[in-house]
Amino acid sequence: MTARLLPWLFVAIMATLPLWMRDQYILYVLTSTGIFIIAAMSLNLLLGYTGQLSLGHVAFFGIGAYTSALLSLGFDLDYGGAQPFVLDPQPVWLAFLGGILLAAAFGWLIGKLAFRVRGAYFVIVTISFAQVMRMVALNWVDLTEGPMALNNIPPLTVWWPGEGLVPLYKKEYYYLLVLALAVVSFLLIQRVVRSRIGRALIALRENESLARSAGINVTRYLVVATVLSAGMAGAAGALYTHYIRIVDPDVFMFIYTVTMVIMVITGGKGTLAGPVVGGLLFGFLPEVLRDVAQPEVQWIVYGVVMIVIVFFLPQGIVPAVTNLFALKKQSGKKQSGRNGHRPAAPRVSEGASS
């Protein structure tokens, strides 16, 4: 029972943070860590639960970021017609939704491709996809301002009784928004994973032929996984862009995908808590190490950590810890059934034994 309450306790403590944490910089770190955790959770759905080696995830993050930024700023586009196409600045939450939808649309494309292009080829395709996006952002200066970046992006707003729509300039409020959305994302992933859909995704990872012979349509569920995953990553990207209020092509850098991958793998792919633990670890490690070591040394550390984890804790931190607790519990006590259900008493059948 306590195991169930622990996460909620954690969330409650984190929610009270702005009251006693005065350091604005730590708030900033926590907020961006939270955003990355959402992205990591989305990657986990694809990498951990469905078993797809997608290394282009930052593409969805960046697409969400740019789309939301462009929609909320408004833009005019010269497409060769008589008049340029002009879009007025849209309400910021509409832009946010637009970011999610466009990212999800690209997710759909990648999902369709995933079935045809398997394994290591798929890895390369996804990386290439992210690189192409980066170059588009870099070169389509008319739309994206290229390396000069889009700035003065409006912040997200929250409807408050009596005050109407309040723009969230204050770090404390944005932090709470990110925390809330992170909790929502976690719950959504949890619902998917524990449903018929989730079982189909896991089946694809565990044994694809068997999954097919059980009636699971591979293409369809690959697409479901990538669309959900991409949409959530797009939301994270949009959150990011309205937070730091500036976006440039560097948002598509491969190093961000790598960061998300490290978070998921070290935390524990295929577990719900994995990306959260990994996210917190790799969100804070740079800060902890910042005074002690230069950025280059930090990345050497991350590289080594990743290798060490793969060699010694291949399942990640969360499963290693849960196994430790399970071993302790098992001494003497027999586990009760799933969700409290006790297995049915053995029927006196015609003798089939297990």
Partner: protein, 290 residues
């Protein structure tokens, strides 16, 4: 017309080094089934070694090139021995992740060692271009092309005419039978990875003097190498050679006639386009991964 020929000339020069990169990776990615993220770093390493030996130590340029390749070879052997051998039998995801870790550490290490400022490699070639009819080519580029062609020839002879080459091919096709015939599979894998890495290093050492040497130069190059391997088919050595030239042609002509900003994107678009239509690569690949 002269412009066309100039682009063609540039593409041929570039294609030679791309072919070296592609062959190196097709050995590792195609045959050993390792998604080798360190390939780009070996390329960078080769370039930095050339810089260090010729630039800092003042060694003869050609000697530096040879040494850079050898050092790359040894580094590749070290990586295989310490990181890949212990993982024998693990699935492709695991080895991929280890390679990513190694890639991050290596790039950061090179950054740490050399700083972010671009370095140039001193070389004995005159800067005045050689004019061959409508085409002008820098002398060093001709040298690079010549070396690439020689290396490609040497490599072919090695794989097809020597006992070692036979042993390597045996291990690739059927490790168990090869082992029964007395071939040391572990050694073959280490050698393969080392040769592949050595080829990447020499490609870096050759191109370093032409362009400049930066810590991140390997990233784009690595992805292009993957493009070449996919174009040519996994494990297909002639395919990788052709793929290298094809990519160089696409880049040169794409940059020249379509848009120079998207030059580097050409390779990626090519990968996506090819795989979307023919998921097994352009040429009939030996076997597919996954």
């Amino acid at each position: 017309m002269p412009e066309f020929l100039q682009h063609l000339a540039n593409a041929v020069v570039l294609g030679g080094t791309y072919a070296l990169l592609g062959i190196g990776l097709t050995l590792i990615f195609g045959i050993m089934r390792v998604v080798n993220f360190t390939h780009g770093e070996l390329y960078t390493f080769g370039a930095y070694m050339a810089f260090m030996l010729a630039g800092l130590f003042g060694l003869n340029f050609f000697v530096s090139l040879a040494l850079a390749a050898t050092l790359g070879f040894l580094l590749g052997a070290l990586i295989e021995f310490t990181l890949l051998r212990p993982l024998k039998g693990a699935d492709i995801d695991t080895t991929m992740l280890v390679m990513i870790g190694a890639w991050i550490a290596m790039q950061a290490g090179q950054q740490l060692m050399w700083g972010g400022v671009a370095k140039s490699v001193p070389n004995p070639f005159p800067t005045e271009p050689v004019v061959l009819g409508p085409v002008s080519v820098g002398p060093i580029r001709l040298f690079v092309l010549a070396v690439a062609v020689v290396l490609l020839a040497v490599f072919y002879l090695l794989i097809n005419r020597t006992k070692l080459g036979v042993a390597m091919r045996a291990t690739f096709q059927d490790p168990d039978t090869a082992a029964l015939m007395g071939v040391n599979n572990g050694l073959m894998y280490t050698l393969t990875f080392a040769i592949g890495s050595g080829l990447a290093a020499i490609a870096g050492a050759l191109l370093g003097p032409i362009f400049v040497v930066t810590p991140t130069m390997g990233d784009l190059v690595a992805l292009k190498a993957f493009a070449i391997v996919i174009l040519g088919g996994l494990g297909n050595i002639p395919g990788a050679t052709i793929g290298g030239f094809v990519l160089a042609l696409v880049e040169e002509f794409g940059a020249g006639y379509v848009s120079s900003g998207y030059r580097d994107a050409m390779g990626f678009l090519l990968i996506i386009a090819v795989l979307a239509v023919r998921p097994q690569g352009l040429f009939a690949a030996k076997e597919r991964i996954g």
